[in-house]
Symmetry: C2
Subunit: 695 residues, 2 copies
């Protein structure tokens, strides 16, 4: 019954059910009870840890939900009142989910960044209660006179509310008079009960009683890129690296790497993430394939940060100068790409910190500094930072470094292994940096157990790597996608990287090209953020034996790749990635995460999900619906029936609608049960757009 | 590694892992972060609604749980510090659950009633971290000198702690010296790492760093009967009722009903619940089988409260006087039975409230008072109370009534349909009454949706009816028992009534005697509280057609039952109920709810669960373990294999143990996989006691 209002984006929000603002008169408060007159509990968005805020990205379609109910049979209504960061107030009507758990929900999309406040309000919906009873009783001939008089009194009470438009008040007075008029038949009275205009007036301006106002909560809204983006990772030293006459490789530089930017941009990526760009330690440097012996020319791991050339605030001399880096950042921006820098808080043994600030490390009884270790293993190319010896000194130094790179134009940091540093350090750092610059984004490489992964997100990380790479079967993906799009979505935004320099899963090692194709399709459509590490498009799938990493890993050597040649031979996934990113840009439903809903197929390898964004919440004010059907068994063709709950996109069960496959261009008429055949070796996934014209 | 200490009950608690009290020095607090140095979150016991307390009953084995972890590989320890209602402080060591979610747990049983406070404390466990590394590295010959010196320093640091016993400090000094002594071989040093006495000393008094103290929470501990009891319900007017010459029935009285008390007590019940004992309305009184027409002599529904003879503070004249009621309460007490009274806040049309306080009801525009209704249906024998017209007046009146019955010796109230009254009213009433008398217990007849049912429990109801009657298949029961024994156990205590005057499920209607037998066995062993409404033991299973209630329902007439005759004919379940209650009294594990664990069988009708109570938490200081195996298909014999995780009661997988069937006396040697055959027509359930002597 709630009116659907499309809000002008200039307001700072979009809503599916905005109502006119009116003052409310709360029911008498009872200071001796915690429960309000109408109980309101389990609000969302929310976080499980007290003292922290839930978050959303600008433009995210956020379900505001609450549990509300009252005693007995009388009907209630529930509103959420939002206060934007600039103090603008708005009111939105929740609908019951009818899920048996008394949950109410409305979708609102905050578009203004900053800290929003919201509170739920529940009330006896006196018109709805009367209309429900009057409809049944007048039709049944029970208490007819009483129901007419009750209605007349109720309409008069509403007409007396000065906050209603004059025309509406006059209409309500007239309806009251007609209910009392003896010449008006009971059938005509029933028409008043069912009158659409009156119902709309009461939906927009309900006649309220027992108004109960819940607690006020906060929601942090961050910029869109905090939640939405296609990421690409490359090692700048590899881009433009050349083999010299003696067989050794000359490093690529920011200047040569910049020549690769147009190609990355042409594939449609939004963010380019660079592994650490700092000087690399020379002492105990790792050789190729993570060996302890180094050969001349081995560049070492970029994560072994620091040498006599400098530390975390310095650019590796092989890559160029700080000015070259700034030029690279600007060139990326010219190509529509944002740069994400790595923030790896650890030091090679020859990092300047080691001599200047030995107190930032752990000194052993024998006077040496402790290497990183997982007993009895030791990692002699890395000293971990000890955050407890001089916490204030380390805070100041890291803040200095982050500010330094922000000053060079960087606004995104990919944080290496944040779970190996104290949680409270990150909470402080992210709050301090985003207080100064709310556009800065931190991505947590939190490949760890669920509890620390989630706590890092709650403490402030805007994005997190996820378990996506290890979720490959239909059952695994259903559990994973259901969890990240709902259970943890109020505080954790997963970035669905398909691979990383550290992770080449067995699925990719043994799944062949179909595996690469279907994983990219799922990552790009299921994730609002997803990512690809360079080489994925060349199907690089050979692992170092016994490991889950690429052989001849780029972490320890230069990789010279023949992008153009592969593409010319038809051996590149780049065209497919390009198409996926085009689809993401054309379809706002895909640039959301919380709207993902799992649907069904009869095959244990055919995954089905859909994303819908209502016009009222869409930047271009048009409904957008995408259905993805993916065969996740890379070794077979599957044919099965797909079952859809089409009500998600407003189609009645049984009605048909037109879909177009955005990969192949094929068009079909679909309904709620549809035959599909997906041959992994041909095209493992359908990405279907539901056309608006419905038959 | 934690020491198991049995605490004298006089202390007010029992614990599986109590430690000596020592002062702690917290790590430097960071006022600018919410997260502590070692994150502590998701504490339990807890409730989902802020502002309310979790609860437990005196003697309940409560799992104190928290999520705790730290960065990197160093080990942590977690304690919970309890403060009893009288301010006694105690410290208990949590063990990791190793569940992948960083949960820690310790079982503590508070035995003193009142409001407890508790807080979790996490710390770097420096000895455990060192011992783990030293064990691996010394054995591997890595960093041996360093590990020995680190250990010596650590032992010296511990020895310097003045809170350790002198002998322990001396032992630590000696160990430090030996680690440094060149003549001590590395193998001998390894023995120091593995020394059990030293490990025990560090378990009792850990060497702590980074001590992080969590928030302080409250736990309300109520008397044991709030969570534990076998209930029996009868209508006093039926007990001793006699058929007169004219065929009408003369009502039973408190005096005649008192003659039934020894039989109820002999069956082993703890609580006798009486439907309302007040005068019954005469206007619009319901006739037999809920008809609108009354015949002379029809007694009416006791829930239609009030007549010219009085209201909620009055005894029905047919039952006797207030003095007779007091005598009945005393006679019950002499038989070891507590009386539970019904509290049904509604009025018959001739209740004195209607004339004295019409403002406590809803007056319609035609001047009449509104009947209870579910439009278009009306219930003309009942006026519902309107709690909003004069909330203070109604509060005062209900409090007066409750105090009145407390003054007659009643301490338990079974509240009729609390979900049809405002939640905040109950919150206020229960808090007010239990402030005056903490022993008063309210049972919610909250047959409603999960959200209001749980909110009533959170708001203060000590017990709640549950969905048990409608959970009959193995899958339904597993979901139900898993939920009530864990998810909601911090705030809701289900009373597993097998039937009520309102509920005769199809399972009982069509399941025959096996259904009655197996439902009683499950209720009595799975529920810490369970209940039986009189007539169950006579297998009364005929429903009024189209309803889920008994035909010729006792709500509307007298029931004259031939208890002795049925028992003599072998047609009574009373001997079985008696045996079940004997078993409950003999086995403290069954007088707990949170210790229920589901186990497995290969048959979809054979339900398996076990309850274990460790000696340290048992009132008689002996381990107690019960395994229940039930065939819930009342129409078949089933044979299958039962799979047990025997670690729950301290038996290693694969080891065998002796069990005795407490119903049949049969004895078997069992292990983790066992054949069972359960014939519903013979004996549908095993109730097995694990004998302490293990082979």
């Amino acid at each position: 019954m709630a009116t659907t209002t499309r809000t002008a984006p200039s307001k700072g929000w979009r809503s599916t059910a905005e109502l006119p603002l009116r003052p409310v008169t709360p029911y008498q408060a009872r200071p001796d009870t915690v429960a309000g007159r109408i109980p309101l509990t389990l609000p969302r968005p929310s976080v499980p840890d007290p003292g922290f805020r839930p978050s959303a990205f600008a433009g995210e379609a956020v379900p505001f939900q609450v549990t509300a109910f009252r005693e007995g049979h009388d009907l209630i209504g529930v509103h959420v009142r939002l206060f934007s960061p600039t103090g603008e107030e708005s009111l939105h009507r929740l609908s019951p989910l009818h899920d048996g758990f008394d949950r109410w929900c409305v979708l609102v999309s905050p578009t203004a960044q900053g800290i929003w406040r919201f509170r739920f309000e529940a009330f006896g919906d006196d018109f709805a209660t009367w209309a429900h009873a009057a409809e049944l009783k007048i039709a049944a001939g029970v208490d007819v006179a009483l129901m007419r008089e009750s209605g007349a009194l109720l309409f008069q009470r509403a007409a007396a509310e000065k906050t209603r438009p004059t025309a509406e008040r006059r209409r309500l007075e007239a309806a009251a008079a007609r209910l009392r008029e003896a010449t008006v038949t009971d059938d005509a009275a029933l028409e008043i009960v069912r009158d659409g205009d009156l119902a709309a007036a009461f939906a927009a301006r309900p006649l309220q009683s027992l108004v109960t106002i819940g607690a006020t909560y906060e929601l942090l809204v961050e910029r869109e890129r905090a939640g939405v983006g296609a990421w690409y990772e490359f090692f700048p030293r590899s881009e433009g690296a050349t083999v010299q006459q003696d067989g050794t490789v000359r490093s690529g530089t920011f200047r040569t790497a910049a020549q690769r930017l147009p190609a990355v941009a042409a594939m449609g990526f939004d963010v380019l993430y660079l592994p650490p760009i700092h000087p690399i330690g020379e002492r105990n440097r790792k050789g190729r394939n993570n060996t302890l012996e180094t050969n001349p020319g081995d560049p070492g791991s970029p994560w072994a940060i620091g040498s006599s050339a400098g530390g975390h605030d310095t650019v590796h001399p092989d890559l160029g100068t700080l000015a070259d880096f700034r030029d690279f950042v600007n060139a990326a921006a010219d190509n529509g790409l944002e740069i994400a820098l790595d923030l790896a808080l650890q030091a090679a043994p020859d990092h300047p910190w080691v001599t200047e600030h030995p107190e930032w490390f752990t000194t052993l009884p024998d006077g040496t500094i402790a290497y990183a270790e997982n007993p009895p293993k030791k990692y002699q190319d890395i000293y971990p930072v000890n955050f407890d010896n001089d916490p204030d000194g380390i805070r100041a130094e890291v803040l200095r470094i982050v500010r330094h790179w922000i000053a060079q134009g960087v606004k995104i940091f990919r944080v290496d292994n944040p779970h190996t540093k104290p949680l409270q350090f990150w909470e402080w750092l992210i709050a301090t940096v985003t207080d100064e610059n709310p556009d800065v984004i931190f991505l947590a490489e939190a490949f760890t157990r669920p509890a620390p992964m989630q706590r890092l997100a709650i403490a402030g990380f805007q994005q997190s790597y996820s378990y996506f790479t290890w979720r490959n079967t239909k059952a695994e993906l259903e559990e994973f996608l259901g969890s990240v799009s709902d259970e943890t979505a109020d505080f954790m935004r997963p970035n669905l990287f398909v691979n990383t320099p550290d992770i080449l899963t067995e699925y990719l090692q043994y799944g062949g090209r179909p595996a690469y194709r279907v994983r990219a399709a799922i990552a790009a459509t299921a994730g609002a953020s997803y990512g690809v590490y360079a080489g994925y498009e060349l199907y690089e799938n050979v692992a170092r034996p016994g490991s889950e990493e690429n052989i001849d890993n780029e972490k320890y050597e230069y990789k010279l790749r023949d992008w153009a040649g592969a593409q010319a031979r038809g051996d590149s996934l780049a065209p497919f990635l390009t198409r996926l990113n085009e689809i993401r840009r054309a379809h706002p439903a895909l640039r959301q995460l919380r709207n993902l809903r799992l649907h069904w197929s009869d095959d244990d390898a055919v995954l089905v999900y859909a994303k819908h964004l209502p016009a009222a919440l869409s930047p271009d004010a048009v409904d957008d619906t995408i259905i993805v059907v993916a065969n996740v068994d890379p070794h077979s063709a599957r044919q099965t029936t797909v079952h859809l709950d089409t009500r998600q996109w407003g189609v009645r069960p049984g009605d048909s609608f037109e879909v177009v496959d955005l990969i192949t261009g094929a068009e079909w008429t679909w309904a709620d049960h549809n035959f599909v055949r997906l041959d992994a070796f041909h095209e493992p996934a359908h990405i279907l757009h539901v056309k608006k014209e419905q038959r």
